[in-house]
C-alpha cells in the first residue's frame, strides 16, 4: 500500500515547478523573502509562527522543517511549545466563537 507523508518527499518540494516553472519560481522567491530574512520580525519569530501554522494545518513536512528552523534560529523547546499552544488555543477559540452564530440561530428558532 502506498504511504503518504514520507519524510524523504520533502526534498521533492522543488519539483512543484515541473509543470508550472514560472509560478513555482515566483512562489519560492516570495517564500524565501518572507521566511529567510530578518525584517520587522526576526527569522526566529517567523519560524515560531510557521511552526504554529504547521500544527494548525497539520502538515508533517512543515512540522519537521520548522522544528529544525526554530532550533537553527536559537529558539528553545519552551518557546516552540508555547507557539503550538497559540495555534491550539486559536483553533479552540475559533470553534467556540462560532457558538455565537449558534446562539443567534437558536434565538431565531426558539419562541
Amino acid at each position: 500500500m502506498a504511504s503518504y507523508y514520507e519524510s524523504a518527499d520533502l526534498k521533492k518540494f522543488g519539483e512543484i515547478g515541473r509543470h508550472a516553472k514560472a509560478l513555482a519560481e515566483d512562489f519560492f522567491r516570495y517564500y524565501g523573502h518572507v521566511t529567510g530574512t530578518d525584517g520587522a520580525l526576526s527569522k526566529r519569530e517567523k519560524a515560531l509562527i510557521a511552526l504554529a501554522v504547521s500544527h494548525a494545518q497539520k502538515c508533517p513536512y512543515c512540522i519537521d522543517a520548522y522544528t529544525t528552523q526554530c532550533l537553527e534560529n536559537g529558539a528553545n523547546p519552551e518557546q516552540m511549545m508555547e507557539a503550538v499552544h497559540v495555534a491550539a488555543v486559536m483553533q479552540a477559540g475559533i470553534t467556540l466563537v462560532h457558538s455565537v452564530q449558534m446562539d443567534n440561530h437558536l434565538n431565531k428558532l426558539v419562541l
Binding site: S42, K43, R44, T68, L71, E72, N73, G74, N76, P77, E78
Partner: protein, 327 residues
C-alpha cells in the same frame, strides 16, 4: 564520492592555502571528566593519552623560537587534567604568549576522574596568568546542555562560571576574558552568533547573575562520536546534505586551518583538531609528515592543507572555527 570537498572548492573557485601560523593549538590529553555526545575527540574519563614532558618542552621551544606564533591554545580532553598543564601555562605566559585554555567548566567541581585530585584552584590560577578561558555551554538552559554534555552538567557549569566571575572573568574592565561556546545539540546548524550571544547574556544575567565576554557558535563535525550517532539514527546523509547545500565561500575564506597548526599528544602536527582526530597528518610540500620534534616554521607554513568531507562543517552557513563564526 558524493561529498568531495576539494571538488567543491574547485567548482566554486575557492583556494585555501595557509596564510600564517598565529596559533599553536596543542591537544595535551584525551582524558576528560565528561563524555559529551558530540565530542569529536571521543574524550572520556577512560582515556589515557597524554603529551610527554618532552613534548611540552618542545612546544615551548617552538613558541620561544618563533615570535610569529603569538598564541598558545591548549585543548583536550580536559587539558587541566594533564600533570604538566600548570607548568605549560606558566612557562608560555612567561614567554609573553597569549594563552587560551579550552576549559569545560565542570572540571573545577569534578576534579580528576582517576586520581580524585581537586581542580578548584583553577579560577585563581587562570586569573594569575591572565589566561583566556573558552568554555562550552551549549545553551543557557539545562535541557539542551545536559542532553549534550551529561546529566547535571548545566548546574555545575553555572557554579563554575560563578567562580570565574568572582575572580573577574567575564566582568567588564577586569581584563580577564571568558568566552562561551555554543554547539547545536543535534544535526542542525547554529543560530546567528550575534543574536544568540545577546540571548545568552540576557538570560544568564537575569536568571543566574552571570556575565561573559563573547559567544562563539560552532557547527558539529560529522566525525567520531557524533558521526556514530548520526549513523545509528539514520541522519548522516541528511546532515551531510545540509552542510554541503549550506557551503559558503566567504565562510571558507576564514577557516582556522589557514592560521593555526594543531599538535597531537604524540607531537604530530595537523591542520586542525578535527584532522588530528581523523589522523590526517599535515605534510610538507616534500611529503614529510610534520612534527614538533623537527619543527620548521617555513615548511609548516608552506604545507598544503589536507581537506576532507568533514570540512563541510567549517564552511557551512556562517562558518565555524575555534573562534566561532567565520563569515
Amino acid at each position: 564520492m558524493k561529498y568531495d570537498f576539494e571538488a567543491l572548492l574547485r567548482d566554486r573557485g575557492v583556494e585555501l592555502p595557509p596564510l600564517s601560523i598565529d596559533t599553536l593549538q596543542v591537544n595535551i590529553t584525551k582524558l576528560c571528566n565528561q563524555q559529551c555526545r558530540h565530542c569529536h575527540v571521543d574524550a572520556s574519563p577512560a582515556r589515557r593519552e597524554m603529551m610527554s614532558a618532552e613534548g611540552i618542552a618542545k612546544c615551548l621551544e617552538i613558541l620561544e623560537r618563533n615570535p610569529r606564533i603569538g598564541t598558545l591554545d591548549i585543548t583536550g580532553g580536559a587539558p587541566e587534567l594533564h600533570p604538566g598543564f600548570d607548568g605549560f601555562v606558566e612557562r608560555a605566559t612567561a614567554l609573553g604568549k597569549h594563552v587560551i585554555v579550552r576549559h569545560n567548566l565542570t572540571v573545577q567541581l569534578d576534579g580528576h576522574p582517576q586520581t580524585g585530585e581537586s581542580k578548584e584552584y583553577l579560577p585563581q590560577f587562570f586569573a594569575r596568568h591572565c589566561v583566556e578561558v573558552v568554555s562550552s555551554l551549549p545553551y543557557y538552559q539545562q535541557y539542551f546542555t545536559d542532553a549534550q554534555r551529561g546529566a547535571g552538567v548545566f548546574g555545575k557549569s553555572i557554579e563554575a562560571m560563578r567562580r570565574l566571575n568572582a575572580v573577574g572573568y567575564g566582568v567588564e574592565s577586569s581584563g580577564l576574558t571568558l568566552n562561551l561556546v555554543y554547539n547545536p545539540v543535534g544535526p542542525y546548524l547554529p543560530a546567528a552568533q550575534a543574536a544568540l550571544e545577546a540571548d545568552y547574556k540576557r538570560e544568564l544575567k537575569a536568571k543566574f547573575g552571570l556575565s561573559f565576554n563573547r559567544l562563539y557558535t560552532l557547527t558539529n563535525m560529522p566525525i567520531n562520536r557524533f558521526r556514530l550517532h548520526l549513523e545509528k539514527t539514520g541522519q548522516l546523509e541528511a546532515y551531510l546534505d545540509k552542510l554541503a547545500s549550506a557551503f559558503n565561500p566567504s565562510a571558507a575564506e576564514g577557516v582556522m586551518c589557514r592560521s593555526l597548526i594543531s599538535v597531537g599528544w604524540d607531537g604530530r602536527i595537523y591542520d586542525c583538531d578535527f584532522n588530528q582526530m581523523l589522523e590526517l597528518s599535515a605534510v610538507s610540500r616534500g611529503g614529510r609528515p610534520l612534527s614538533i620534534f623537527d619543527f620548521d616554521f617555513d615548511a609548516a607554513l608552506g604545507r598544503r592543507i589536507v581537506f576532507g568531507e568533514h570540512c563541510l562543517g567549517c564552511t557551512a552557513g556562517a562558518g565555524s572555527s575555534c573562534g566561532g563564526a567565520t563569515a
